[in-house]
């Protein structure tokens, strides 16, 4: 961290007297506490508080006793989860959708950013960007509403067109086999523009001299994209990829819950929606917490693994 190095060099206190200096600094700067204490309280209550509740995963929750006094039942909840016939299905669904997302939704914003970067007319570029970001600002509910209106089996926009062309209507919303496609496709429509911002930002940092010297060597536009732009934004891509890996087991229940119906449930039940339903609808608190914990642990393992791999094979990593 360059900021830290700067701080160290700027400080006029020798390292040997660091702890004393820390006390001294605290005495001089106690007033920061006024700002930071409410923030720390927020994190303690609303982030670490629920983490304390994670013990429910190993307990049988009794509302009368509360979280702390509920009886321990060991790993029963996990055994139930791994033994449940739902388990392989929700695991498979989560992974299939996320792998599709990684293969399709992840590269498209990068390609989009590289293409935007080639546009030289600033106003055109701005307009295009404004349009591509717009769907991100639509709420999840409205977004799913639009999906439904467009893809409905009867009277849906797409199926109306297919009908005019003499093709049988496709049950996009009601057939399990289409669910992951619809989910990822709509995800591309909504988020590609927004996700490209970070790569556009990275591209704006590419040194123009690299392009000039490549041009002098006779590199075409395409060659320059591949050999100049892409390597320059590689660190950003790697970081984003690691973060994506850390979400491999997570799909936001907000959207999936809205897209679910009794006909496509076979393909649309994922870990997060399962945790929501077992927890807040069936009130099976301990079990639902176990599902959530399982999800979270796998995510962290994947994140750390991806980070380690990135560290070994490229120069950039998250930590």
């Amino acid at each position: 961290m360059p900021a830290k190095a700067k701080a160290a060099s700027a400080s006029y206190i020798e390292p040997a007297r660091r702890s004393r200096s820390k006390r001294l600094r605290m005495r001089n700067n106690w007033d920061y506490l006024i700002f930071i204490i409410p923030v720390i309280l927020y994190f303690l209550i609303f982030c670490y508080g629920p983490m304390y509740g994670v013990q429910l995963a190993f307990k049988r929750f009794n509302p009368a006793l509360g979280i702390t006094a509920s009886p321990w039942i060991g790993a029963d909840n996990f055994e139930r989860l791994f033994g449940s016939f739902q388990f392989t299905r929700i695991l498979k669904n989560t992974l299939v959708i996320n792998l599709l997302k990684t293969c399709i939704s992840f590269p498209i914003p990068i390609i989009l950013a590289l293409m935007f970067n080639e546009i030289r007319r600033e106003r055109l570029k701005k307009t295009f960007q404004t349009i591509t970001y717009a769907p991100y600002f639509i709420s999840t509910v409205v977004f799913v509403g639009i999906i439904n209106l467009f893809l409905a089996g009867e009277n849906g926009y797409i199926n109306n067109i297919l009908e005019m062309l003499g093709i049988a209507p496709i049950p996009f919303l009601t057939s399990p086999s289409y669910f992951s496609g619809v989910y990822v496709g709509s995800d591309v429509w909504r988020n590609s523009g927004w996700n490209s911002i970070i790569f556009i930002a990275a591209l704006s940092g590419v040194d123009p001299q690299l392009h000039e010297s490549a041009q002098i060597d006779g590199a075409s536009r395409f060659k320059r994209i591949i050999h100049v732009n892409l390597p320059c934004i590689m660190p950003t891509i790697v970081i984003q990829f690691i973060l994506q890996m850390g979400k491999m087991m997570t799909l936001s229940y907000e959207r999936i819950l809205l897209m679910q119906n009794s006909l496509n449930i076979e393909a649309s039940e994922v870990i997060s929606t399962y945790a929501y339903k077992t927890g807040l609808i069936n009130m099976d608190y301990g079990f639902s917490t176990a599902v959530g914990l399982f999800n979270n642990v796998i995510n962290i393992v994947l994140l750390l693994a991806a980070n380690k791999i990135a560290k070994r094979y490229s120069s950039s990593s998250l930590f």
């Binding site: 600094r25 700067n29 006024i34 930071i36 409410p38 349009i131 600002f137 536009r221």
Partner: protein, 300 residues
């Protein structure tokens, strides 16, 4: 100058490549824009024509019946009022707490900077999950109150780190130094130095948080019970996703088919009515949030 010299060097292959790029981007932009414009057009059209797929980008059989029904529905107004309240209040809480956290974290003379940073960052990767959170909200007595939508999401760690990075990089240490020499305390420095200089990042944070509050439905769905407390998104969910257009909107219609038609028209209108405030706001704030994302990207 630069553009001119570039044009001279441009080879045939490059020009072809550029043309293809433009065409591809054009197709993409159209693919994104078309559904949005279609919804606008359909909302003004005769539902019968919409359902049979006869509508393009220009409304046909212009009628405002759907809008009339949406505006006459008092629940939509309740939802609107609640959403505005939650968005304004929630964003105010978000901004205050985020800046209060970002400021000390950005300061070198704050002794626990590093430990605080670790303490906060952990929560980005590990969370208690949905049930512990739900029980916590219930235990704190916030169930079925608007505070359940505001306090548990009061700070977004990522946004706080972005704000911290902004403060670190834009406000020079020397400004603080000279203020300290004049006897300025850290509290005073926050109000006299930091706040006046951080308008761009505040704009970004306002946009991010306000959009979040405007668009979220899940917290409201699990924490709120009274319909009078529902935000707009929950009423939208009933209309758009659960296909339960309120009876108020449907009264005085007997025929089932026309009921269905009106419900379809209402869907398009309600999408427009609910999304217009945010979509109107955002092009004006665009330059700020691109900047905000760039600060985020810098940090990585």
């Amino acid at each position: 100058m630069e553009a001119a010299s570039q044009r001279i060097r441009e080879s045939h292959g490059d020009r072809l490549f550029l043309t293809i790029t433009y065409i591809l981007i054009g197709i993409l932009v159209l693919a994104i824009l078309y559904p949005l414009l279609y919804v606008v057009s359909a909302s003004f059209s005769d539902p019968k024509l919409v359902i049979s797929g006869n509508i393009g980008l220009i409304p046909k059989g212009f009628n405002l019946e759907a809008y009339q029904r949406v505006f006459m529905n008092h629940e939509i107004w309740i939802g609107y009022r609640n959403t505005i309240l939650y968005t304004v209040l929630g964003t105010a809480v978000n901004i205050s707490l985020t800046m209060m956290g970002a400021y000390p974290l950005s300061r070198r003379n704050f002794p626990w900077r590093r430990s605080c940073m670790i303490f906060f960052t952990i929560t980005m990767f590990f969370s208690g999950g949905i049930v512990p959170m739900y029980l916590l909200v219930r235990n704190l007595g916030m169930y079925n109150s608007m505070w359940a939508l505001i306090l548990p999401t009061a700070i977004n760690v990522y946004n706080m780190i972005v704000a911290r990075t902004f403060l670190e990089t834009t406000i020079d240490e020397q400004i603080y130094e000279s203020a300290y020499i004049d006897g300025c305390s850290n509290i005073r420095a926050f109000f006299s130095i930091v706040l006046p200089l951080c308008a761009p990042i505040m704009a970004v944070l306002v946009l991010f948080y306000a959009v979040y509050h405007w668009n979220s439905y899940f917290e409201a769905m699990i924490y709120l019970k009274d319909r009078t407390l529902y935000p707009l998104q929950l009423f939208l969910r009933e209309i758009l996703v659960m296909n339960q257009s309120d009876n108020v909107m449907m009264d005085s219609i007997e025929m089932d088919t026309s009921k269905f038609l009106v419900a379809e028209g209402v869907k398009y209108a309600v999408i427009i009515v609910s999304s217009v405030p945010i979509l109107m706001l955002y092009p004006f704030l665009q330059k700020y949030f691109v900047k905000g994302m760039m600060i985020g990207a810098l940090k990585g």
